[in-house]
Symmetry: C2
Subunit: 499 residues, 2 copies
């Protein structure tokens, strides 16, 4: 398992570095199915911790989980015109339901049984608006049934051409919230509320600072009225869309006849929202914090928060350090810390350090015979301050919990400073062109709102409008003109090259 394979340095090839970090930390692996990955235990544990934190927040805001079918009748997808257009080029279609033996030699050669063709092909959900709102139509009769606030954790399939571990895979895991409301204002408030929940999660748990705001027409979700998004800046200065929240208006309500009787006795269409984040966030976590030694994982989402590495030469020392190590493990474990005692005989301490570093463990405690004698351990921080210093075994749990909190806060601070160092405001066209040709990053500037400028900018620089930022991210002075065409600006925009 512990391979001494070197990780490609970020400066040399960021993309190779990213893959190396994932493979070395055993977060995921390539599968024999094109574009699909396997999420290995260390990566899946991060996902479980993400799920737990988000699910608690969803429930605290009144949502309940449910589960809807994987399959969507092809005709359902087609009911909302923009929606089907948006997804037509990337849907997996089930057409047969049985295998039969072929005439070829070998009992095991099989083919789809032509006698089992489905009358209507089934789409594997690329998102579940259509199947969910078909059920909403059945469940919602009166204003008393509103708001209906559901969420689903599930797998999703989009037939992507170029795939990247976690960032873009044919199948991925996500959650999708789906709600129905009596009024447009309530739907808008819900879409904004969940954007806020995502921001809290991404900043406080992932230590990944994000900019929130509105997507332009060309970047919004197929079928939405308005799409809000969270955008983070990776270490290669490319943006990552880390989550979206949509005000769907009455588009799907009309396509699926989701109506309710008002208190006054009238009949109205409901207003829907949907919002989702996915395993893509794990890719964002990797690219926000990790370094040339491997994964750096914020403590709140680290599968292992503390690795205890005992150091011994003799059998007697071994018994001694493992004894103390075991006590430390129990003490930390009781304090709710996720801790491992690495008692393996087959590896030297140095090899263990290397391995736990690659796996992103925030804090390592080394315990040798001299430490035992001095009633201490050597504490090495993986990142978020770094460094190595002795800590007293007396009151260790409290020290460790505080250290993990400090590391968590330091990672967010560092990431925010890095992002700001790679953000430019009030750019002119010339500055913008140089910036995008150079390091890249977030460029703030005036925008006329036209699709023509957007298309030209993308074509010439590869940059797209990430968001029209929310007030708290806007520049102190609103730009007056479009940084590209010079016409009056309708909104400040944030451009970046993006994943």
């Amino acid at each position: 398992m512990a391979q001494a394979k070197k990780i490609t340095p970020r400066a040399q090839d960021f993309s190779e570095w990213y893959n190396d970090v994932i493979m070395q930390a055993e977060l995921a692996d390539y599968s024999p199915v094109r574009g699909c990955m396997v999420i290995r235990p260390h990566g899946y544990r991060i996902w479980e911790l993400m799920q737990r934190a988000l699910d608690d927040m969803f429930k605290a805001t009144g949502h309940q989980n449910a589960y809807f079918p994987l399959f969507i009748p092809m005709s359902f997808l087609a009911k909302e015109a923009e929606h089907v257009e948006g997804f037509a080029k990337e849907v997996a279609l089930v057409t047969h339901t049985r295998l039969k033996a072929t005439g070829k030699a070998g009992a095991q050669a099989v083919m789809p049984d032509p006698a089992s063709v489905l009358e209507e092909p089934l789409v594997i959900r690329p998102t579940s608006e259509t199947i969910i709102y078909a059920m909403f139509a059945k469940w919602i009769q009166s204003y008393r049934d509103l708001p209906l606030l559901l969420n689903q954790w599930c797998n999703i399939v989009r037939w992507e051409f170029r795939t990247r571990l976690f960032l873009r895979t044919t199948e991925f895991l996500w959650q999708e919230g789906h709600t129905a409301h009596a009024t447009e204002a309530e739907a808008e408030a819900e879409a904004r509320r969940m954007l806020g929940v995502y921001r809290t999660f991404q900043e406080q748990w992932m230590a990944m600072p994000v900019i929130t705001g509105l997507k332009t027409e060309s970047e919004k979700f197929a079928g939405a009225l308005r799409t809000y998004a969270l955008e983070a800046l990776m270490q290669d200065n490319k943006a990552l869309q880390a989550g979206t929240s949509h005000n769907l208006g009455q588009n799907f309500a009309k396509a699926f006849t989701v109506q309710y009787q008002t208190a006054a006795g009238g009949l109205e269409y409901v207003w829907n929202t949907s919002w989702g984040v996915s395993t893509r966030m794990i890719g964002g976590l990797v690219m926000t914090h990790s370094d040339d030694n491997g994964l750096v994982c914020p403590p709140k989402l680290a599968p292992v928060q503390v690795a205890i590495v005992p150091i011994w030469k003799s059998e007697e020392e071994r018994g001694q350090v493992l004894g103390v190590g075991g006590q430390v493990k129990d003490e930390l474990s009781s304090a709710g810390v996720r801790v491992e005692l690495d008692a393996r005989d087959s590896l030297k301490p140095g090899a263990k350090y290397f391995e736990w570093e690659a796996k992103g463990v925030p804090l390592r405690l080394e315990i040798g015979p001299r430490d035992v004698a001095a009633g201490q351990a050597m504490a090495a921080r993986r990142a978020g301050g770094g460094g190595k210093a002795p800590v007293k075994l007396d009151g260790l749990a409290r020290t460790v919990v505080l250290a993990l909190d400090e590391i968590q806060a330091a990672l967010l601070k560092t990431a925010r400073e890095r992002r700001e160092a790679h953000s430019v405001r009030d750019v002119s066209k010339q500055q913008f062109l140089e910036f995008m040709k150079g390091t890249g990053g977030f460029a703030y500037g005036g925008y006329c709102g036209s699709g023509a400028c957007e298309a030209e900018i993308k074509q010439q620089t590869g940059a797209t409008v990430r968001v029209l930022p929310d007030p708290e991210f806007r520049s102190p002075e609103a730009p007056q003109t479009c940084m590209w065409c010079g016409k009056p600006s309708v909104a400040e925009a944030v451009w970046a090259q993006a994943y």
Copy 2:
């Protein structure tokens, strides 16, 4: 939401009763996709509680979660001969990856794009042995990598002809454990260990007594060496297979070349196990405990364990009982009890009782003005003893926790007594025929081990061998002859008609 629809009595039509209980409790609903159901929040919460309990037990026994692709290349399924034969008639196949507009009028008419046909069709996992062991081949090199103990929570698709809510659906949710071991003995011990974990869960959490044992050749998993199963007896005296654990031997290891270097330097195939339980258990829970008033849910898995129903006539009383109700709710909630205060103005207390009963809430606390004055609440047990009695508000949390434990234990006891009352031992052929024509249930008898007897019995009575029971379930005296053909018995068997 609160419909006064009557539930069909069990005695009148068990199958209708089952569907009515599920629909009234809002556990699930039919979807527009053939054979697929929607799991509604109340049903999904039961699944979440099941997942949490099982997942803790899996982790405590050294297993880690991972996630493998939904898609399996058709050729993979075909690598193990028995396996593909077992699943060929029920697999959904993905053949296309894009939609295109048809020539028909209407911009939204679409069809699978013939230009997007996959070179090799993909099977939607009916179980994941093949894709998982293909990865094991990559990860396992040495005896140091063993045992490898993984588990996956996911959705599964089997194209079933006759479907029933929870019991048999085209898509269902489950967990599948997959392990690799160095020796046959270790694999056998693992398969038995997880059977034990399932039994503990089904008896202690679901309050559903089970018989464990070995499946016959005709009933074992396609590709397994040996299949162990858990069988429960439903209220209509039909058996439900509630989970299985397979010793896969080296069948898949050979099909996928999963080999390891031994400590001595040799090369050996690993030994695999797989084991799974699914959302089918929710159907088992319903049919074990529920009654003509709706769902009965064991407290440990009840989404709502206690419903507080305040009773008032005047506004003054309303304030008073809601105040006390709120305090009770907070107190119970702090004690870890899942509790709801039903403060709705739109429903009378009686209608609320009716609704919480249909939803299977184990304990109802009624609080009226006189109860407030007396410092008490009226506690009504849904089942597991039943009855209604005053309880002091002072020290209520402790009283409630004890009551829930009592109810939990009583449900298991009642279910076990019911099962034993419908079990017959040492049956003769004549008794067996009468039993299966009559009430049915578990019939224990001698078995010669022949497939011919098995087939004849099934054909004449509809009963199958559920298991060759483990020692703790066997009759005190081993039967000497096959109850059907009279030849020497090789094992005691338990027959029943089954779901």
